[in-house]
């Protein structure tokens, strides 16, 4: 498994062992944890969630040897604490910068760049939709037949039709959207390379 930051190999192994004694399980947890920390940095309004995630792992790597023997509880919560410190530090750094304002995604594109981004996303979406199974495509289309207020009743009816709860339906549609969104992100990354 490749490392994503400059963590010394012995620290990387120690992090894996801390996450789980089974290396395969630990590797899966490591990947998920990176993903989840990046999401936390996104919530924390950090401009570079991936870079911040690397930084969080680097910091844990420097301390893991000392912390691990005495730390009680799920090690992922230790990562959370480190991530929160990083978010606070980041906020201090950008305190004097002006926030972006006037973002209106529902309005017309206002610049060439914005147009290009929208085109790239649309192209990637079309490619990713080709990989979507018919069942999944039909479900997501049925889910979005109505929007705003009308969608609540419609989704109740749809859940009944599928013989599942609305909760299950929401999760099912979320997974489809998430797999589509991940596919689009990967496609956009490839385009930028």
């Amino acid at each position: 498994m490749a490392r994503d930051s400059a963590i010394p190999p012995e620290s990387f192994e120690e992090i894996l062992a801390w996450l789980n004694p089974d290396r395969n399980v630990a590797a899966t947890m490591y990947v998920q944890l990176r993903h989840d920390l990046a999401k936390m940095f996104l919530w924390g309004r950090c401009a570079d969630p991936e870079g911040m995630t690397d930084e969080a792992f680097d910091r844990v790597a420097k301390k893991v040897h000392d912390v691990r023997p005495t730390y009680e509880g799920d090690p992922r919560l230790y990562f959370r604490a480190v991530a929160n410190n990083l978010i606070k530090e980041n906020h201090k750094k950008i305190k004097n910068q002006l926030p972006l304002e006037g973002i209106d995604l529902s309005g017309p594109a206002i610049s060439e760049t914005e147009d290009n981004i929208a085109e790239d996303i649309e192209e990637c979406l079309q490619l990713c939709l080709q990989k979507l199974s018919i069942d999944r495509r039909e479900l997501i289309l049925a889910y979005y037949v109505k929007d705003k207020q009308a969608k609540i009743d419609h989704r109740n009816d749809l859940a009944q039709k599928y013989g599942i709860t609305v909760e299950t339906l929401r999760v099912r549609v979320f997974r489809i959207r998430e797999s589509l969104a991940n596919c689009i992100r990967r496609c956009l990354k490839r385009k930028r390379k």
């Binding site: 309004r45 995604l105 990989k131 705003k148 999760v171 979320f174």
Partner: protein
């Protein structure tokens, strides 16, 4: 405790940055350590984004939302992708459900009925419609029969038999194969069935799997449900296809895990080329 804090309302407030430090720590802790909680938070986040895009948030929540989700390139990309998916779905639905105006139809029917000269063309059109409809219906019936035969061919009982006129094809997931050429299958007159062996390298295993076999040149996909994985050190899903249903060209297989509730889980992709 977990259920109390993971309500839609609390999670929305959390995502809008409107919870106290203790609640934030609890939710973030669950997000990192509990996969069910993680998914729940992400479902609410998606719905919050949709509400923003539909302009359904209150002015106060909209402001909070933008301060949380409209600040960085990564957040804007997430919003743009959500918007693109939603717009596509609404567009597709609109194009599929645009009805013909009933009043126009009634006017047309009334005027045609008054003119006997139109009876013959209408009768001819009706005959063509019946013939085309018959062909279409026949095609649908044939396809339904084929899918039933495929399901039967892949039942546990049938998979125990090893027919003489069968070829084996070992495929590898596309992610593993990377830039290698897709595996080739050469059709021959004496081979009627091909058994594809699909290794499942995903972390999660499922009680059953469903495969969609799609010709990249176009045409209908074949769906094979209720496939089972066999543990041979590595999980392998065996799927048999009739060779006479395979035409020359490349095929893509999307193999999806189906959990006990019928929910589609992770998917793996494979490809192979048919040569005649």
């Amino acid at each position: 405790m977990k259920e109390e804090i993971l309500t839609d309302a609390v999670l929305r407030e959390f995502l809008l940055g409107n919870v106290n430090d203790e609640e934030q720590a609890q939710i973030e802790g669950l997000f990192l350590t509990d996969s069910e909680a993680r998914e729940r938070v992400l479902v609410i986040e998606q719905e919050l984004m949709e509400d923003y895009l539909e302009d359904s948030l209150t002015a106060e929540d909209r402001e909070r939302f933008l301060s949380r989700y409209g600040q960085t390139d990564a957040q804007l990309q997430q919003l743009r992708i959500t918007k693109a998916i939603k717009d596509w779905a609404l567009r597709e639905n609109a194009s599929q459900t645009t009805p013909a105006s009933p009043s126009l139809w009634r006017r047309l029917r009334a005027s045609l009925l008054l003119k006997p000269a139109f009876f013959a063309p209408i009768a001819a059109a009706a005959i063509i419609a019946v013939v085309v409809g018959g062909i279409w219906f026949n095609g649908r019936m044939k396809r339904a029969a084929l899918l039933r035969e495929l399901a039967q061919l892949n039942s546990s009982a049938s998979l125990r038999d090893v027919p003489a006129q069968m070829a084996l094809l070992e495929l590898r997931p596309i992610t593993v194969r990377s830039l290698e050429q897709a595996t080739e299958f050469k059709k021959s007159a004496d081979v009627h069935i091909v058994e594809l062996r699909l290794p499942w390298i995903q972390k999660e295993s499922y009680p059953s799997y469903q495969a969609e076999v799609r010709p990249l040149s176009g045409g209908d996909s074949l769906i094979v449900p209720n496939l089972q994985a066999e543990n041979d050190g590595l999980l392998i899903i065996r799927m048999r296809l009739f060779t006479n249903e395979l035409n020359r060209g490349q095929y893509q297989i999307r193999l999806s895990g189906i959990d006990s509730g019928g929910v589609v889980g992770t998917t793996e992709e494979y490809a192979f080329i048919v040569e005649s």
